[in-house]
Amino acid sequence: MEIVMKEAEARVPVTIMQLHGELDASNYLDVIAKAKELHAAGTRNLVLDLSDLSFMASSGLVALHSTALIMRGDEPPDPEHGWGAFHAIAKERETGLIANCKICNPQPAVLRSLEITGFKAFLDVYTDLDTALASF
C-alpha cells in the first residue's frame, strides 16, 4: 500500500491522505503512524481518500477509527477495547466530535467491509472528494 498526501483549501485547510492498494494487517499501522505524524505537524482536518483502495480488512477499520481519534487529538484506542471503541466513535458522531476526519469514495470491496461491520455509520462517508471537502 502506498500513502500519498495532498493539501486542499476548503473553508479550513484540509489534508488529503490517499491510500493506494490494499489495507490489511500487514500495513494498517503505517496509516496510524502517518496520522500521528500529521497531527504532530499541525493537521487537524483530514480526508481519507479511498478511491484507489481495492481491499480493506478488519485491521483497516482499526486504522480508520484510530486516525479519526488522532485527528481529534486523542490517543488511538487499544485494540483490546474492541467494539467499545467503535461504539464510542458512534456516540461521538452524534455530538459532532469527529467532524475533522472524513472518508471519501470507498470502492465496492472496501464498502463491503465498512457495511458488514456497521462501521459505515460510524464515520462521515462521502462519495466524492469535493463533497467531502465541502463538508468541513
Binding site: 500487514s26 478488519s58 474492541g82 467494539w83 463491503r112
Partner: protein, 141 residues
C-alpha cells in the same frame, strides 16, 4: 467437488496479499460472481490473519490454502499446524451486552460468519487445524 488448487506459503502477514491473489484467481477462473468472491476474500483474509497472529503468534509456520468449487459453491480450506483453535466456537457478539464488554477478537469471526454460508473447523489427522469456508451460488451458469 472439482479438483482443488493449492498454495503452500509461509504464515507471514506480508503474504496475505499473495494468498488473496491466489484465491481470487482460482475463484475467477470458473467465472465466479465477483461480489460473492469479494465476500469470500474478506472472510478468508480474516481467517488467515487470525492464523498468523493468534495461531502461530509470530513463530514460523506454514498455511496451506485450497480452493475448489463444489457445484456452484466456492470452498476455501485453510490448514495450519498452530495450536488447535476452533474459531467457530467464538461466541457471536452479544447485542445485550454493553459494547465495551464485547471482545475485539470477535470482529474477524463476525465478518467470516456474515460473509460465508458455512464455516467449519476440524482437527486434522496430523494434529493441525483445518478451517473450511463455503460461499454458495458463486459459480455462474
Amino acid at each position: 467437488m472439482d479438483q482443488p488448487l493449492r498454495l503452500r506459503i509461509a504464515a507471514d502477514l506480508k503474504n496475505l496479499a499473495t494468498i488473496r491473489r491466489f484465491v481470487e484467481s482460482a475463484a475467477k477462473s470458473e467465472d465466479g460472481n465477483p461480489e460473492a468472491i469479494v465476500d469470500m476474500l474478506i472472510a478468508m483474509n480474516e481467517a488467515a490473519t487470525n492464523i498468523i497472529i493468534h495461531g502461530y503468534q509470530g513463530q514460523p509456520g506454514i498455511i496451506e490454502v485450497e480452493v475448489a468449487y463444489d457445484e456452484d459453491a466456492l470452498v476455501v480450506s485453510l490448514r495450519d499446524q498452530a495450536p488447535i483453535f476452533d474459531p467457530t466456537l467464538v461466541p457471536a457478539p452479544d447485542v445485550t451486552l454493553p459494547p465495551e464488554q464485547r471482545p475485539f477478537g470477535g470482529m474477524g469471526v463476525h465478518m467470516m460468519r456474515q460473509l460465508t454460508d458455512e464455516l467449519t473447523h476440524r482437527t486434522t489427522p496430523d494434529g493441525g487445524n483445518e478451517l473450511i469456508l463455503v460461499k454458495e451460488d458463486v459459480r455462474r451458469a
